[in-house]
């Protein structure tokens, strides 16, 4: 039986982890590779790096991070942030990323999704959607960290990118991100139920019940969280045990 997935996400800036993990004694909490190895050992089902490097000159730093991570741990790695061209995707995959997540570039040009999926296969193309509620039961796609509205309906957009070849959706509620009050369940469920590909729910996790709700009520096949894991509030193991206790099948190898 396929298991639901728990995915910690690390923000990486200029090759260093921002708000690094502190649940284990790392020699260097800012080293993404050390953090990745720690999560691998802790039982994370996949790992996500979000590259938030601002300056163009430093964009290459993520490639080195990805390469060293892929050499040090044997887990699925998704990398996103600032991916704009086919060449960006190629470089990340060649460095060792298993999946690449694209956001703004897909909003600006849907054909980019098609082109990427045809070139590299749907299995490695994740489309990240940042969505905000505009009226009850309606959500709009935003870019630039939730600052820029696009006028595009999030559910319609998700269906469109999947029809173009996206193999997975990474959905973040911008209303919930950072609030720790739980996923936006109606949003998550609306999109999960309207697309045929797996959906990762993100934004708002503050406790372990939220992870259960994302899967059970939101119909996500994976849940992504950052702060509850990084600061050692909960271990990955505790999260998965909690989900098992709620009746969800999880990998406990």
């Amino acid at each position: 039986m396929l298991k639901f997935r728990v995915i910690p996400c690390l923000d990486v800036k200029d090759g260093r982890v921002v708000k690094g993990i502190n649940f284990v004694d790392l020699r260097d909490a800012g080293d993404p590779v050390e953090s990745a190895v720690a999560y691998d050992a802790a039982g994370a089902d996949e790992l996500c790096f979000l590259d938030i490097t601002a300056s163009h000159e430093n964009r290459g730093t993520i490639l080195d991070v990805v390469q060293r991570t892929a050499e040090a741990c044997f887990m699925q790695l998704t990398v996103g942030g600032g991916v704009r061209t086919i060449e960006d995707i190629r470089k990340l995959l060649l460095a060792g990323a298993d999946k690449v997540s694209i956001m703004t570039a897909a909003v600006q040009d849907r054909n980019f999704v098609r082109e990427a999926a045809e070139k590299f296969g749907s299995q490695c193309i994740v489309v990240a959607i940042d969505a905000k509620q505009t009226q009850p039961g309606k959500w709009e796609v935003f870019t630039h960290g939730g600052r820029k509205p696009t006028g595009i309906d999030a559910v319609t957009y998700a269906e469109e990118v999947v029809s173009l070849g996206a193999g997975e959706i990474l959905l973040t509620s911008m209303d919930r991100d950072g609030t720790r009050i739980g996923f936006d369940i109606p949003l998550t469920r609306s999109i999960a139920d309207s697309v045929a590909v797996p959906l990762i729910a993100s934004g708002g996790v503050g406790n372990l019940d939220h992870l259960v709700e994302g899967v059970r009520d939101g119909h996500a096949t994976a849940v992504l969280a950052a702060s509850i894991f990084h600061f050692g509030e909960f271990t990955i193991r505790q999260a998965k045990e909690h989900m098992v206790a709620a009746g969800l099948p999880m990998r406990m190898d």
């Binding site: 396929l2 997935r5 797996p198 096949t221």
Partner: protein
């Protein structure tokens, strides 16, 4: 003693080679693991690994684009009986035909077609992506010592197509996803995994170690 991981432009082989190196170290395998696109090295290798990600037809074209590679693999595997492991699309390429986007010929080492997964439960998502358990249909040396079944170890899958092997005895293991999905095929000195052993932690490293010691 060389393990050749065939490089034909199908994505990154870092993690595959690192996983094989790690399994080699921990299992006391005395040989070297090399990633190569040189048909001569493949022809002379003691063990051959064919990885593959992306679409079937693209991978087939990539393999064809390396002059002499298929001939070298065929000689080593079919004539000289060298142990062979195909991974993901590298496993699917063993089939007679691939039906992804277009119909293209496989190596035809395992009879059958590569067809879309169609889970009986429409709420199940495709790709089949994530961790799943294995149900072996036969005992196979590559699964020796690995806990399988519902309470067994997990393997990492990510695929939308599967190799529907014609000959039942060519199916080593299945996995459950709205019906049975072929997880592992093989005959004689040939084996293939739909899942990624190089991304499957304990199960994967144990399987790779078994492959390095396999004497079919």
């Amino acid at each position: 003693m060389t393990v050749a991981i065939v490089n034909y432009g199908s994505g990154n082989l870092h993690s595959a080679s690192k996983a094989f190196e790690l399994a080699a170290r921990t299992s006391g395998f005395s040989g070297d693991v090399t990633v190569t696109s040189d048909p001569e090295i493949v022809r002379r290798a003691e063990r051959i690994v064919l990885p593959g990600v992306g679409a079937f037809a693209d991978c087939r074209r990539g393999l064809d684009a390396v002059p002499g590679m298929i001939e070298s693999m065929s000689e080593a595997v079919l004539l000289r009986g060298k142990p062979f492991l195909g991974i993901c699309v590298g496993m699917q390429l063993l089939a007679t035909r691939g039906l992804e986007h277009e119909t293209s010929a496989g190596l035809d080492w395992i009879k059958g077609d590569v067809e879309p997964i169609r889970p009986t439960d429409p709420s199940l998502k495709v790709p089949h992506m994530g961790w799943n358990t294995l149900s072996p249909s036969i005992g196979h040396p590559l699964l020796a010592g690995i806990p399988t079944g519902d309470r067994g170890l997990h393997a990492y899958f990510v695929h939308s197509f599967q190799l529907s092997a014609k000959t039942d005895s060519d199916i080593i293991a299945r996995t459950e996803y709205g019906g049975a999905i072929v997880a592992m095929v093989g005959r004689d000195n040939i084996a293939g995994t739909q899942f990624h052993p190089e991304k499957s932690q304990k199960l994967g490293l144990a399987l790779i170690a078994n492959f390095l010691g396999w004497r079919p």
